[in-house]
């Protein structure tokens, strides 16, 4: 009989032990599941909020998304982000989520809670916690702040429906801290990006203003020269002034095109050449009916380092042709062909069907500023080449490398 009792007790003990171990396993399983759930959630938080930060979304939206994920993860009913206001020396909410109409939409917390307050309604509050609870209107909360960054996170979990109520646990605090650090990192990166964008915008505005003022100053110089020329009765003096005015115009037009361009560092050569040629024709009072202009200019972008020398060369070529190639109201035509060969080589072919050059005329031996400066610009500044042909008028074949690769702007 006693054997049967012993056996019964043995089995009873074994059953109790197994039951306890089962319970232990169940608890362990629940804990591991909760851990896995939290890990998944924090991974989601990092991924989603970082993705948002990568896109061009407003910071408000990132804050809201962040709080939403916090609410979902911790099954909480309210969450708020705070920023430390140094002037008031208090924490001011920058974003709240889960607030009903009865809740305040802005919160000031001036009671200086410690960095972490992990508080459930079952715990007897100390004075700081009481003060925090009164401000928030909740007795079940988690407060995490990072004083270095001046940011804080508040999570409240006090649903009216008590069945859904879940007290905060130590793991919630760890997770909240991790989440806040992720958010601070994003916030600082976003702030730096915004500062960069603002600074870039300011510099663009300044550069535009600079181009604009340069152009305007050049126009003022042109006007002064025009006034001075008008005051003179000497035709030679007037001619010299007009030539200089046109050279200044060729340069000022580059600055005008630059501040009108999107890139602020390059202009479209087709538009520039067309406008410059048109103005020069008007400047010498020559109608298109008498001297027709054939422009075959490829549309490509050039930097200021190419555009200004190009404008000065074209100005000399066109001015010389308009002044000398068609005397005595002779009719004719001028052709300008400009194109890019390969990646960097620019070709400029200029021809007219005028009277040609005087016999024995050698461009390099000329003392006139126009021709000398043109050769200096091509051979010296652009390190290019120029050849001249006299046949049914004059033709110049110029080639040089686009200066973009040697641009001063990139140095």
């Amino acid at each position: 009989m006693s054997d049967i009792i012993r056996e019964r007790d043995f089995y009873k003990r074994t059953c109790d032990e197994m039951g306890a171990r089962c319970l232990q396993f169940q608890e362990e399983q629940t804990r591991v599941r909760q851990e896995a759930r939290r890990s998944r959630m924090i991974a989601t938080l990092i991924r989603e909020v970082y993705q948002l930060a990568d896109h061009k979304v407003a910071f408000d939206e990132i804050e809201e998304r962040f709080l939403y994920i916090i609410l979902e993860t911790l099954s909480a009913d309210r969450a708020a982000l705070f920023r430390h206001d140094q002037e008031k020396d208090s924490w001011v909410s920058s974003h709240l989520l889960g607030c009903e109409n009865s809740h305040r939409t802005k919160l000031d917390i001036d009671c200086h809670p410690p960095d972490f307050v992990f508080f459930n309604s079952s715990i007897k509050p100390d004075s700081v916690q009481k003060c925090l609870c009164n401000k928030v209107g909740c007795t079940n909360l988690l407060w995490i702040s990072n004083p270095d960054s001046g940011r804080a996170l508040l999570i409240c979990n006090e649903r009216e429906d008590r069945h859904l109520h879940r007290p905060f646990e130590a793991a919630d605090r760890e997770m909240g801290e991790g989440a806040l650090n992720v958010f601070i990192e994003i916030a600082e990166r976003k702030k730096a990006e915004e500062q960069l964008k603002t600074s870039l915008k300011e510099k663009e505005v300044l550069l535009k203003e600079l181009y604009h003022r340069t152009k305007n100053n050049m126009q003022v110089i042109r006007s002064m020269l025009a006034l001075q020329a008008n005051a003179s009765t000497n035709e030679e003096v007037k001619r010299i002034f007009r030539d200089t005015e046109n050279r200044i115009y060729a340069m000022s037009l580059v600055h005008q095109k630059l501040y009108q361009s999107k890139s602020l560092s390059s202009i479209n050569i087709h538009d520039y050449v067309c406008e410059l040629a048109d103005l020069l024709l008007k400047s010498y009072h020559i109608t298109k009916a008498r001297v027709s202009l054939h422009l075959d200019v490829e549309s490509f972008q050039v930097s200021i380092d190419t555009a200004i020398p190009c404008g000065l060369i074209l100005n000399e070529l066109l001015s010389n042709a308009l002044k000398h190639a068609f005397p005595d109201n002779r009719e004719g035509e001028i052709c300008i062909c400009m194109y890019k060969k390969g990646q960097h080589m620019i070709h400029l072919d200029f021809s007219d069907n005028g009277v040609g050059l005087p016999e024995g005329f050698e461009c390099l031996k000329q003392k006139s500023l126009g021709i000398r400066s043109m050769y200096a610009i091509i051979e010296h500044q652009l390190q290019g080449s120029i050849t001249c042909e006299v046949q049914n008028g004059v033709a110049f074949y110029i080639q040089f490398e686009d200066q973009e690769q040697y641009s001063r702007i990139s140095k």
Partner: protein, 123 residues
Amino acid sequence: MKKNTKCLVVEDEALLALSLEMELKMAGLNVIGIAATGEQALQNLKVKKPDIILMDLRLSGKMNGVEVIRMITRMYHIPVIIITGYPDTKLMDAAKRLDHVRYLLKPVRTETLLKLMAELLNG
């Protein structure tokens, strides 16, 4: 400063180089060459042996003016006047420390330039 002093102009803006050449010639000096790049300047130095170099800091080509000056001061004892539109305090200080290098900011008055050239050449 002797008449016919041999000057080398290193300036990549063609019109500024032409204008400087004209002013130096009018002052009776001998402009032995105009270089637009650092490489051309060094080539000119080797072949034409100038007495003085007038030089911009921003040049086209692969070398900038500072690199060229470093090479000149290392290899030759020729005075250099830096003529530039970009005020750079570090460079100004460095130039002050070098015996044969002086610094002028654009726009430069011809009289100022000639006076400085004379000071450098006459020691």
